[in-house]
Subunit: 205 residues, 2 copies
DNA sequence: GTCTATATATTGATAGAC
DNA sequence: GTCTATCAATATATAGAC
């Protein structure tokens, strides 16, 4: 039973750490990583700044936990889609819906992931997380290439440019979507997918 | 002639100030406003940090000059388009091309404008610049409403959502477009406009 | 105009008491 | 686990010599 004690303490620590991470996510999402001080985080969490170092090794450690935690969840769902038997167009649609849903379920974390993209590329420590961005590109581009081959997309599609438009139109949604607002994330997804597939033009030209 | 002297000194000052702003734009675009120190700016410009305060009142003054300078150029061109006799669809196309061209001619400044959007909204000092973002929204939304009325766009278009997709797909281009790279900004504009108007679908369904 | 020198504040982080 | 107290580094900004 004495052994057990260690495990239980560690469980509390993990729970509190997760709780603190939510506070960090909200602050860093709103004010930016560089502009958020560890003192502000302590204030918001009801702790003194020094106490945070019982849970985190450093400020960078906090950012790493936030981003890699989100990526773990997201990339697992992407893998399910890649492994499925759906058509390329359906896979693309599902991947974009999963991404948009994360803006509802993990709003702060996605905002951090988006806002601190530059830092993720500049800082050597965050290389693994930056690398995963390339996996996202490979996945989406693969769907586009396969979709063109299957006749589901325009034959003259420039995949590299199309990928960038898709990526850049979907992720910034997190900057204006607010959970509990007057438009649901499913409505956003419906409208965005309609526009990406059909465009602005009238359907019968 | 003694009076003239003041004007000439002031002219030199303005020229050097503009030169320093280019250095600031490059640094702040690459490393972010909060993470860029005045010492780094001084080093990059060949001055000591203290000397910068002969040209700028504060670090915030630098950011304000960068952003409002860009906006002055851009919004003047937007006004020409609004005042023109073109159709809504052509106005939309022209406005997006002007925005994309700025990523070629004022790449660093547009990156700063994009990256520091959150700070522009949080800091009271930058309110006027944040307000101009709403003017951009009004303009583009106006084109969309008029275009739907004129039958140039789908009748069931949800203007608010369409605006956001357009805005979010166009401005992030600055994060990957590089002047002098293997794709010109005109090529990007052609591809993006084709996708926005026609979508991913094959043209003959 | 640019420098030297420095004021003043704030930062991330640590050591040890409780 | 959290606090007190504080370190060392770094930040923006200023005053006055040159």
């Amino acid at each position: 039973m004495a052994r057990r004690q260690t495990g239980e303490e560690s469980a509390y620590r993990e729970a509190k750490r997760a709780e603190l991470l939510k506070v960090c996510a909200e602050l860093i999402a709103r004010r930016g990583y560089a502009a958020t001080t560890v003192r502000e985080i302590g204030d918001a969490a009801g702790l003194l700044s020094g106490s945070l170092y019982y849970y985190f090794k450093s400020k960078e450690d906090i950012l790493e936990s936030l981003v890699s935690g989100l990526q773990d969840v997201l990339w697992a769902r992407y893998q399910e889609i890649v492994d499925s038997a759906d058509s390329p167009r359906v896979k693309l649609e599902r991947a974009l819906r999963v991404s948009l849903e994360a803006m509802h379920t993990h709003n702060d974390e996605v905002r951090v992931y988006q806002n601190e993209g530059a830092m993720l590329h500049l800082n050597e420590r965050f290389k693994p997380m930056a690398a995963r961005r390339h996996e996202f590109e490979s996945m989406i581009s693969g769907f586009l290439v396969d979709g063109v081959a299957a006749g589901e997309f325009r034959a003259d599609l420039r995949v590299q440019v199309a990928f960038r438009l898709i990526r850049d139109s979907v992720w910034p949604v997190v900057h204006w979507y607010r959970p509990g607002g007057d438009v649901t994330i499913d409505e956003v997804a419906d409208e965005y997918l309609a526009l990406l597939f059909d465009g602005l033009n009238p359907r019968s030209m």
